[in-house]
Point group: C2
Chain length 182, copies 2
């Protein structure tokens, strides 16, 4: 198993948004789902993606997308706008759940946690163990308080000195893990 946790500081927590970008940058959540869960004509059944949504009106909410159970999805943003709107209005979609939860509580449930940071230990040398959980900030980054908390449970890991989009970081981590497994 692989897990990705995206901290979305402003992600809207109801379905009243005109589009994903104006939903507190839910477009970043979409892009991260895309790179977490999709290969060419295939869903990564061994990946679970979490987004911690911190925007109005009901924060914090945890959105969970489980590759193992995910059905009826496509790869474009419009499809995910419809899905997120449905789930955030209390309706269901196979493989997607929503619950009241904070980043701090979520992290306490997990082991083998790695926080993505340019200054961390290289992903090429660090021991990821089995079933690693990667924590990523959104376009703004993790709040200092949350980062300090998460680092009590995990380690900083780096994929290089350059700063990438959260979705690109996820793509790169999936690729690196694929190469090891292959």
């Amino acid at each position: 198993m692989r897990e990705f946790i995206l901290y979305s500081r402003t992600g809207r927590t109801d379905s009243r948004f005109p589009n994903l970008r104006e939903g507190g940058r839910l477009d970043v959540v979409y892009q991260s789902v895309l790179m977490s869960l999709f290969r060419s004509h295939a869903i990564r059944r061994n990946v679970t993606f979490h987004a911690l949504l911190g925007g109005p009106p009901n924060p914090p909410l945890e959105l969970i997308v489980e590759g193992e159970k995910l059905r009826d999805v496509r790869t474009d943003e419009k499809t995910w706008e419809d899905i997120l709107r449905r789930v955030l209005s209390g309706r269901e979609h196979p493989g997607i759940t929503l619950r009241k939860n904070s980043l701090q509580h979520l992290v306490k449930e997990k082991t083998n946690i790695f926080v993505l940071e340019e200054s961390g230990e290289s992903i090429n040398t660090i021991d990821l163990g089995s079933d690693p959980v990667f924590v990523l900030g959104d376009q703004v980054g993790l709040p200092k308080k949350d980062e300090d908390f998460v680092l009590r449970y995990g380690k900083k890991v780096s994929i290089g000195e350059k700063a990438y989009l959260a979705s690109a970081c996820i793509c790169i981590i999936n690729y690196i893990l694929d190469r090891r497994e292959g």
Copy 2:
């Protein structure tokens, strides 16, 4: 310089589409632009992206997005739906051009061409030279006739045995090249 050429077999060649997905999978073009040209809070000025659009009503058209000149952009699909609609209706956007051109003609203008294929030589051992140009198929892949033609001018290169989304392939190639330059 780095260049990516995406062959979009069905990409719509006018602005009459309800959304990118229903525009002959122009959402794949958007995702490829995202992973070609954007880092965190930065545009990759050293990348040029091309999409060869083969859909109705005016194929083939070449869409060119030049990182060096690109302005007034954001990373979400909705923004790119607006931009592509504008450009495909004959209006302008800084850094983006449209011209009548085919994949075969485009390839003849280039040197150092690499066609992405799982069966190609590993990107870790192949000599990419300077200013490599990568050719990728869309969700269906390159037509055999075009692939045979392109391979008269270039080589097959592989990033691994797994099949990834075109956008993920671009992300991975950018990352591998970043690591070499870093």
